[in-house]
Homo-oligomer: 445 residues x 2
C-alpha cells in the first residue's frame, strides 16, 4: 500500500479525551474515530489489526475442533425471558422496540440464542461433542464508556459455547478452550495469564479469566511471577486427548495467579517472597463451565447412551477481540508510538523513501515493494513528498515492527537499511537480502 493513496489520518497533537496510552495512540495513528460515546469507526489501519486478530482467533478455534457460525446482533426479548435474564440484566442491556412494538435487544452475549439453535436441531449424544462459536458485534450500554476500545459500548467479541453429554466431557471442552486461548494470545505476542475467577451466583470454580499484565489494567492481580515465563510455544497438542489437554492446563494454572475477586492471602503468603508479585491486569478473555443452567431453563435435552433424556452440559468462552487492540498496545509501545508484535501488525514492514522523486530511490522502493508483495508481504510504502524526519515519525507512531529505509547514498553502495522498531537496531544490507530477512521473520506467522 502506498501512503499517498491510503487513508491514514495521523494526528500530530495528543487528543485531550484519551486518558491511557493505547487510546491515545489509536487516535493518533489514525486507527479509530469515535462516533458516539463508546462507539467507534475502525479506520483502515485499525481494521487491518482487527482483522488480523480475528484471523488468529478463528484459526485457533478451528484447530481445536470448534465450528464457526454467526448469530445476528439483534435478539428477541422472549428468548431472554426463558432464561430469566431479560429482567435481571439491568441497564447495560440495550432494549429496543421495532415498528410492530416487538421487544428486542442488542445482544450483549449469546447463551440463550445458541441454546435455542441447539435445541432446535440436536437431540442425541451421537451429535456431541459440539462447540459452536462466532465473532460478532455486541453492545453493552456502559454507564461510563472510556479508555477507547478497552471499554466501548459496541465491541467485537468471540463467544463460543460447548455442548456435551456429561460433566467430564464438558470439563474437557473447558480445558480445550484454555489451551486454544493460550495459543491465541501467544500468537498475538501477549502473555495472558489464566487466573481463577469468581463464578458469581451460579457457583462452581470452573472459570478462569485471562489477564495481560499492564499498569493501566482495571484489575488488581496477585501472582507468582514464575507464571509469566510459561510458554506453550510451538508444541503440538492433540485436542482430542483429554489427559494431554488437562496436563497443559495444570501446567498453566498450578502457580498462584488470582485477581482481587478470588485472592486468598493465606495461599499468596506461601509463594517464595522473591516470586510474590502484586500488579494490575487487563482482562482479555474468560472461560466458564456452567453446566445445565441454560439447558434446563430452555429445554435443551439430549438422549444419552442409556436412552435417558438429560439436559446438555454447557460452558461459554469469550475473547474480547476489539479490546485486544488496546491490551496489545498497552503492553507494546514506547514514547514514540506503538510497537506491533509481528503476529498482529497491520503491515509486516514499512518502506521509507528518503528522497522521493530521485529516480534511483523511487525505482529501488518500487522494486522492494514488488518483491515483498510477491512473497505475500504487503509493505506500507511511504511515497509522500515529505522530509525524512516526518516519515520516520509516522512509521514510529504507526509501529510496524520493521522498516526498510531507502536513500541515494545507500543505494550508491548497493544497500538499504533494515531497522527493528522494537530494538531500534539498524543494519545495512542489499535490497534482496532485506526482502529475504523479512520473509524469514514472517515465515511462521
Amino acid at each position: 500500500m502506498r501512503l499517498s493513496r491510503y487513508f491514514l489520518p495521523v494526528l500530530k497533537e495528543n487528543p485531550a479525551e484519551a486518558q491511557i496510552v493505547s487510546h491515545r495512540y489509536m487516535l493518533r495513528a489514525g486507527m479509530i474515530k469515535q462516533q458516539s460515546a463508546g462507539i467507534y469507526s475502525w479506520l483502515p489501519l485499525g481494521l487491518r489489526v482487527l482483522n488480523r486478530i480475528q484471523e488468529i482467533v478463528h484459526q485457533e478455534q478451528v484447530r481445536a475442533g470448534h465450528i464457526p457460525l454467526l448469530m445476528p446482533t439483534l435478539q428477541p426479548a422472549d428468548l431472554w425471558r426463558e432464561s430469566g435474564r431479560y429482567d435481571d440484566y439491568g441497564q447495560e442491556m440495550l432494549r429496543i422496540k421495532d415498528r410492530q412494538g416487538r421487544e428486542m435487544l442488542y445482544g450483549p452475549t449469546n447463551e440463550e440464542m445458541i441454546t435455542d439453535i441447539f435445541r432446535a436441531h440436536v437431540n442425541s449424544y451421537k451429535d456431541l461433542p459440539l462447540t459452536l462459536y462466532h465473532i460478532q458485534w455486541k453492545f453493552r450500554d456502559e454507564m461510563r464508556p472510556r479508555f477507547g476500545v478497552m471499554r466501548g459500548r459496541e465491541f467485537l467479541m468471540k463467544d463460543g459455547y460447548n455442548f456435551d453429554v456429561d460433566r467430564d466431557a464438558a470439563l474437557h471442552a473447558y480445558n480445550r478452550h484454555m489451551v486454544s486461548y493460550l495459543r491465541t494470545y501467544e500468537r498475538m505476542g501477549l502473555t495472558a495469564i489464566p487466573m481463577r475467577a469468581a463464578s458469581g451466583p451460579i457457583g462452581g470454580d470452573n472459570t478462569h479469566e485471562f489477564l495481560v499484565l499492564a499498569q493501566t489494567g482495571e484489575s488488581e492481580v496477585f501472582y507468582d511471577d514464575r507464571v509469566t515465563a510459561l510458554k506453550l510455544g510451538s508444541r503440538e497438542v492433540d485436542y482430542d486427548d483429554r489427559a494431554e489437554v488437562a496436563g497443559v492446563c495444570a501446567e498453566f494454572t498450578t502457580l498462584y495467579a488470582r485477581t482481587d475477586e478470588t485472592h486468598d492471602a493465606g495461599l499468596f503468603e506461601q509463594i517464595p517472597e522473591e516470586h510474590r508479585k502484586v500488579g494490575r491486569g487487563i482482562e482479555v478473555g474468560q472461560i466458564f463451565y456452567f453446566g445445565t443452567k441454560y439447558s434446563e431453563a430452555m429445554g435443551a435435552v439430549v438422549t444419552n447412551d442409556k436412552g435417558e433424556k438429560v439436559p446438555v452440559e454447557m460452558g461459554s468462552h469469550g475473547i474480547g477481540v476489539s479490546r485486544l487492540l488496546g491490551a496489545i498496545i498497552e503492553a507494546n509501545h514506547d514514547d514514540k508510538g506503538i510497537i506491533w508484535p509481528e503476529g498482529v501488525t497491520p503491515f509486516p514492514v514499512g518502506i521509507v523513501n528518503l528522497k522521493q522523486g530521485d529516480a534511483a530511490a523511487d525505482a529501488a522502493c518500487a522494486s522492494l515493494e514488488k518483491a515483498l508483495l510477491a512473497k505475500g508481504l504487503e509493505p506500507l510504502y511511504d511515497d509522500r513528498d515529505e522530509r525524512a524526519g516526518a516519515k520516520f515519525a509516522t512509521m514510529d507512531l504507526v509501529g510496524l515492527p520493521w522498516r526498510i529505509t531507502v536513500g541515494p547514498r545507500g543505494l550508491a553502495n548497493g544497500v538499504v537499511e533494515l531497522t527493528s522498531r522494537r530494538t531500534g537496531v539498524s543494519e545495512e544490507l542489499t535490497p534482496e537480502a532485506a526482502v529475504e530477512r523479512i520473509a524469514e521473520i514472517y515465515a511462521g506467522r
Copy 2:
C-alpha cells in the same frame, strides 16, 4: 471437514414458511435459522458461503483501489439530523434510545457517517481521489420481511463512498464501481445486468441497479437479450485509466436494459423483436452518483488546485451481500437442491464413502481428504454410517459442485467416481487424478 463432527442440520421436510426456492433450500440445507421476523442466524454452512462472497467483494474492491474500513452498526441521530434524513426516513429506520436517553439508530446505510469521517480528516484535493467502503450489518425495519435473506431486516451490505474533487473524477469513480461490480458478480457465477435506475428526488441519471434474471425477482425488467451474453471475462482493466474504464461501462450499458421504474416503451420497441425480452430480476447492487448532496449539507469541503473551497463530489455504491446468497440459489438449483457455482461454494468438493467401516474405503477417503487439504481445498467428507442414498441426497441438497464417490468395488479397480453436480455426469479415475482434476478446476478461483 468430516460430517460426523460438523453441524449441518439438514431438514427432510419442506418448511411451510418458505415461499421461494432459495429460502426453502437455505433452511433445508441447514444454512440459516430464523431467530425473529427477518433476522437470521447463519449456521456453519451458510456462513461459509457468506464469507466466500465477502472475500470476493473485498478482493475486487481492493483491486479497484478502494480502501476498507468499518463503521459501527449504531449511529447517533444527530448525524442524520444534519442531512435532514432523520425525519424523512420513516418507519424503516430502527430508532433506539440508550440509557442516557440519547437518540440513536441502527444504520440502514452510511452516507452521513462516512461524510463525517471525511470532513474530520480530509481538506485538500491532494488527498483525493478517495473511495472508502465497508461490509457491515445493516437494519431496515421492513413492514413485511419475507423470502428469507432476500428481504431480511438485519442484513449484510457492502457500501462504498467515493470522494472526488470534481464531477469528472466522480464519474470516473462511478464507472470504476460499475466495472468492479461486474467482475464481482461474474466471479460468483452470476450474470448481473446493469440497468438504468430511477434516481429519485435527487435527480440526475447516474445510477444503475444490477439485476440477476430470475422468475422470483421482485422487479419487472425489459431488455435486449444480447445483454446477457456480455462478459468481462479475464481481461485486465487499468482502473486508473478513465477512458478504458468508461469504455467497459459503455459496452455493458448501451444495449437496452431497464426496470419498470425507468422503462421507455418507445426505446424498447426499437429492439429487434427476436431480442426483445420481458422478465423478472433480483436487485443485487446499485451504484449512485449524487454529487454534493451530503457534502453541502454537512460541510465536507476540500481546497481545489486553485485554492478554492468546494464541497466534495460523492457517490454511494452498494452490494447486497447476504441477499446474494438467495439470488445465487434462485439462479442455480434443480429439484434436488442447490448447485453452487465454484466461486462461492462452501466446500470445493464432497467425498462420499459408500461403505463406512470398510478398511479400504475409509483409508482411501482419508487419503483423498489429506491430498485435497494439502492443496488448500477442504473437502466435506460424509463419513457417517448412513446408506449411500441418504448420503447422495444430502450432497445434492447441499449442492457442492463436485462429488468424489468412494466404494470397495471401484477401489478394487483402482478408481473412484467424480461427479459434476450441475451436469450429473460421472467419470471413473484414479484418486490421484481426481485430486488433480479438482485442483485444476479451482486453480483460478
